[in-house]
Symmetry: C2
Subunit: 388 residues, 2 copies
């Protein structure tokens, strides 16, 4: 297996992008990534694209071919493949791109992610997202994603020390970071009070505990590490790629407050990268809801179960803390265009390791991790990156 590096990155701004179609979004992200790598499109050998539900959001399937075509690459007949794992679609598309290069089968591969979520009625998007859970045992009986994560939050708060204020501080921190990220959907700082006084969505989760409905796309380009300096002075090495699955329903889990797929994928990734937790300078975790960030920090092993609330309120996970979490603003402030999120996480870590994160920059960041979750944890992808 060959070593793999990220040689180019691109991302649209995230938000309610009424002026952009599904196609516009990924073309924009892809063009930015090519420009970043100073690469002509015809050098691309293959593409993988993460997308959850274009079939329901824009009535379009066959996304791999569509993207290759609209990117102007149909005449080159490159293999282009869509990968789907609900909210982890982007992370899995990145992983497939890494495997394709690591195997020696392809050299220059684009991993993209895209979701256009706002072209349907609001209720329809919530229902579509329920397709990430178990339609028969969860969706049909009325469970929505806020409802499922509220169950996790209730169970967690019953068993571990986590105050409502600490939970709110996850969102406050992520809005603080998002206010420093030009691609973020919400670039406003908020207070704990903003969260606590926001509309109750699914007790105990309030509006500001939830990631929003978002349009957006992101793309990164990977290449064999040994060739990376042909394209960039700052290649970022992929130190590990790991993926794990779990039961699709919450009620079948051993423990609903611990995402076993996160535990397993996190351990696998650290082992592959030959890293320990202290080596990781920053992490992008999948904070689709504030409680998800709390669980992720613990399940990835950065602290013991029950300690992430205090870690957050003590500022350890803040931009200037010992373990900055979601420097991008996370799903909460950046927004969560489902298929794009996993790639946007890579985009953020690469910016940080290159030293290009501007007002969000973590000084001297050398090793970063991404953590992308599908559904309530039935799929998890963890990647580790290093500045070499």
């Amino acid at each position: 297996m060959r070593d793999v590096a990220v040689i180019g990155i691109g991302c649209t701004t995230f938000g309610e992008k009424w002026e952009s179609s599904f196609r516009d979004l990924f073309v924009e992200a892809g063009a930015l990534a090519l420009e970043d790598a100073q690469l002509a499109g015809e050098k691309i050998d293959a593409m993988y694209v993460g997308n959850m539900s274009a079939g329901r959001f824009v009535e379009q399937e066959h996304i791999g071919a569509l993207i290759a075509d609209y990117a102007g690459l149909a005449t080159h007949h490159i293999p282009s493949t869509r990968v789907e794992a609900a909210c982890a679609s982007g992370g899995l598309a990145f992983r497939q791109a890494v495997i394709a290069v690591a195997s020696g089968m392809e050299d220059i591969v684009v991993a993209a992610g895209v979701e256009k979520m706002t072209d349907v009625e609001p209720g329809a998007s919530t229902d579509t997202l329920t397709g990430a859970a178990d339609r028969e045992w969860e969706g049909f009986v009325g469970a929505t994603f806020p409802g499922l994560y509220a169950m996790i939050a209730n169970d967690y708060m019953h068993r571990y020390p986590l105050t409502r204020e600490q939970l709110a501080q996850v969102a406050v921190k992520n809005h603080f970071n998002g206010a420093r990220n030009p691609i973020a959907q919400f670039q406003q700082e908020i207070s704990v009070d903003t969260v606590l006084k926001s509309t109750l969505v699914a007790d105990p989760l309030r509006l500001f505990d939830c990631s929003p409905i978002t349009d957006g796309a992101a793309a990164v380009i990977v290449a064999p590490f040994e060739r990376a300096r042909e394209f960039t002075d700052t290649p970022i090495k992929v130190l590990a790629s790991a993926q794990a699955s779990d039961t699709i329903t919450l009620h079948d889990r051993r423990d609903i407050s611990t995402l076993d797929a996160t535990v397993i994928a996190g351990k696998r990734a650290l082992k592959i990268a030959r890293c320990i937790h202290k080596d990781i300078d920053l992490v992008e975790v999948h904070d689709c809801f504030s409680i998800a960030e709390i669980c992720a920090i613990e399940d990835l092993g950065f602290c013991k179960k029950g300690e992430a609330g205090k870690l957050t309120s003590d500022g350890i996970t803040a931009l200037n803390g010992d373990l900055p979490v979601n420097t991008s603003g996370g799903l909460k402030a950046c927004g969560h265009p489902v298929g794009a999120t996993g790639i946007k996480q890579v985009y953020e870590i690469v910016q940080q390791l290159r030293g290009e994160a501007d007002r969000r920059q973590i000084d001297g960041a050398e090793i970063g991790m991404t953590h992308n979750v599908g559904g309530t944890g039935a799929t998890v992808a963890v990647h580790i990156f290093g500045r070499i």
Copy 2:
């Protein structure tokens, strides 16, 4: 890159399976494949599943995790990934499984395909399938798949010698083969007259020129070739895996009667396998419509453009001909559960190369090819297999 072999195969019967849910279908196919390989589920390292549109057919996404869970593998937390490329979803899932093993990343990998198409109104399934074409430039203006392939047929018949009777003979041959295949949806022989007197769907295509709406699932298990004999006495080697893309719309093509993605993927596959056409003993091609089989035979290079009609009427592509095409009965007679078709093609070729195809058996078959098309040819996967 390591050599890869197929060590186990399984397939449900195809048809209108009112008694089986989406989940039942893939569990059945997976169990049959495991039984065939005499393998316990916990030996599986990873899964890839091809599925086009469960989001619209059964309102369920996150298919990789769902499958791993219902196959009883959630507790093993294996990576499980859905791949989508419309009607080529199965072929691409197989390709990803091959890449995963060839790369050395995984050892025992399941490639599955599944589609449950009958749980919606008939009109809804036609509309869902239009998601495989360009929704904005084809679907929204009223083009359906029969309509798009009728355009190909009209263009082809205008330019090349192909009679309406020869076109019908594609369906007659495939029904003949399907009548000898226990998994086929239609196990009845038909005559040219049956085709010519059937309902006109999209001129010149009649009902019996079209593959049907079908439920079904298929699964195959791949492993490193060097380990294959641990599991089976008849490993079938994967000699080549190739994939190509093209414009998603017909009107953007250089030539609508030649599927360039088939031409390119076919050439790539032969080159990788170090084969010439004469080495290929049989082919499963993507006959979603009768005209598609005509184009496929030519575009894969088995004869010149314009000759496949005569090849068919001369019986060359029949079971007892020099180049048996679609010994399974093809999409026409087996049915076309979209995501499953690419895997079912592999299932057929492996049966043939093992000598287990019973009344469809091609004596002495040593090398076989599969050809799986997405949409009207925007994605094509070609694989070549050998008995070693």
